[in-house]
């Protein structure tokens, strides 16, 4: 009875195994329900194609094909049987560039989203669950970051921290969490008042237990659905920052491709093959993430889900 609280909070391995098995079953059920939504499946298909492209980029296009010094094509050649999507101003294959660009764009999008989600969920959960000054300060901080013009802050941070992939990820990550935090906070506030949390309190559960076992599982679907939307924002932001010349100059991303195309005047010279493919890639990936996000939101909305 007088055992220390710390001992109570650590769940034994058995509980974890129980939870794992339960989760596996939940995943199977959810996958069955997900497949019913055609748009979500289409989005997932597009995503898988792009992910495979990014992962197997070295097999699809040899690394030297995007080296300016080893380019084999002419300047701004239109699409041909050798260069399916034409060449850029340095004679590199635009298709190869887009393939390699997928790596950076997806990497930045996913990493930045991960940062944004972790910060957003932590801040949202804490500021929603607790009621002291910490919660109030966190809430004000969230609002404060939210009202700072996003692009300006991103440009300033990118300029101060220097142009690198890491900077871009960090900049997008630390500027895009407030909307997630607000969303999670409002959901937490609503879950917190449910009677099963009072029951948990009566069971002798501490705050940590209440938060991780009852509140978090109930806001998690929201986090997942929000993740896919944030990924698309992150990819767009990466494109924007690269287009503005704030990206990593040593790496090729869809945004930097668009910037290069703009700089060499591809628009005025009619070299559409240089502009459209990276643009289409961005649009397709963003669209795919949104489709998956919507499907997940429907999936996790208990009112739309049948027993």
């Amino acid at each position: 009875m007088s055992a220390p609280d710390e001992a109570r909070q650590a769940p034994p391995v058995s509980a974890r195994q129980l939870a794992r098995r339960r989760r596996a079953l939940a995943w199977r059920t959810n996958w069955r329900l997900f497949r019913r939504q055609r748009s979500g499946v289409v989005g997932l298909g597009i995503l898988v194609v792009f992910l495979l492209t990014a992962v197997f980029a070295p097999l699809l296009a040899a690394p030297e094909t995007i080296e300016v010094t080893q380019a084999t094509g002419g300047v701004l050649e239109p699409p041909s049987s050798e260069f399916w999507l034409g060449t850029d101003d340095a004679g590199r294959s635009v298709l190869a560039l887009c393939i390699w660009g997928a790596r950076i764009s997806l990497l930045v999008g996913l990493l930045a989203t991960a940062i944004s989600m972790v910060i957003g969920t932590l801040v949202g959960l804490t500021s929603g669950f607790f009621e002291g000054w910490v919660a109030r300060v966190l809430y004000r901080l969230t609002e404060w970051v939210l009202v700072i013009p996003f692009l300006v802050l991103a440009i300033v941070l990118a300029a101060v921290l220097g142009r690198s992939l890491f900077t871009i990820v960090l900049v997008i990550g630390v500027t895009s969490w407030p909307s997630t935090a607000l969303l999670i906070r409002s959901q937490t506030l609503s879950v917190k008042e449910r009677p099963y949390l009072e029951r948990a309190k009566a069971l002798g559960a501490g705050r940590w237990h209440q938060m991780t076992r009852h509140v978090l599982p109930n806001v998690m679907p929201m986090v997942f659905a929000n993740t896919t939307l944030t990924v698309s924002i992150a990819i767009l932001t990466e494109t924007t920052l690269s287009f503005l010349g704030l990206g990593d100059p040593t790496r090729v991303s869809w945004g930097s491709l668009l910037e290069d195309a703009f700089e060499v005047g591809a628009m005025t010279t009619g070299a559409w093959w240089y502009i459209i493919p990276p643009g289409v890639c961005v649009v397709l990936v963003v669209l795919a993430f949104n489709l998956v996000g919507q499907a997940l939101e429907d999936l996790f909305n208990p009112r739309l889900r049948e027993g």
Binding site: M1, S2, A3, P4, D5, A7, R8, A10, P11, P12, V13, S14, A15, Q17, L18, A19, R22, R194, P195, Y196, E198, R199, A200, K201, A202, L203, G204, A205, G206, H209, R213, H214, P217, N218, P302, G307
Partner: protein, 331 residues
Amino acid sequence: MPPETAPELAPALLDIRGLSVAYQTSEGRLPALRGVDLLVRAGEVVGVAGESGCGKSTLASTVLRLQPKDAEVSGEVRVAGEDVLTMGWGKLRAVRWAEASIVFQGALHSLNPVQRVQHQIAEPILLHEPDVSEDQVVERVALLLEQVGLPRARSRSYPHQLSGGQRQRVMIAMALACRPSLIIADEPTTALDVMVQAQILDLLAGLVRDLGVGMLVISHDLAVLSDICDRVAVMYAGRVVEVGSAKQVFTDPQHPYAHALSDSFPHIGDLAARYAPAGLAGDPPDPRQLPDGCSFAPRCPRAADICRVAEPPLLELEGSRAAACVRVGEL
């Protein structure tokens, strides 16, 4: 029903003394409880009856110090001899559920919708006995389910897949999980239809008999209480106005409010009462502006001038019962 003297020997599981609770509201201080004394002994079922707003749910939540943070509390609530209101946080968490557990009203909302029943019944076990192995937990949950009359397979269900009665059974199984010596049932049958209500009451009464635990049942339904309780306390405007054996309070109430409450339920065999159900005119007083003297006086059919002067104390009567009415002998 056990004889009057039997429970006197058993140790006190719950001993509430002079408990007062007040809430701060935007319209002023609201006293929810005003000096309540209550005793629950091992193996005894004590009922608390009263209409909405009389403080019975506040009483239930105070037993495990679950009242809102801003509530002003004074008095003593001793669970197994220790005062819940002053004990340390770690100690309090240990007492919660292991010593005393609650069967909440509204089982649907008291169960987490995204967790299986098994996980939720196991929750107090994992919290209070972290060394128990997974197999043992699964087995104990299955036994608990059988104890409350549900098949083992139900442990795989989510709350929304169960009926109201089944959910209430799950709540009872959860209350038994850590083998507490005291169970608080807060309106355990309110949301259920009459047939299921009878089943749940039978179940609760049976468990108390088999396990020898003490139980505090909170209900507005005097008929429910008279069914399963040994003793009943009737509350009005934050005070206990009558306490005695369930049979006495139901069939021979001394306090005029208990009388009115008892009359508002049909007695089997009493045809006259069936055709002319008695009610009680008026509404309970606003707790922020209680009348001078007896708080029941404005609605009391027997109120005299003296009733409007001072609030009568709980007077001991013969047969180990008590009532808070100055005119108790004149009925």
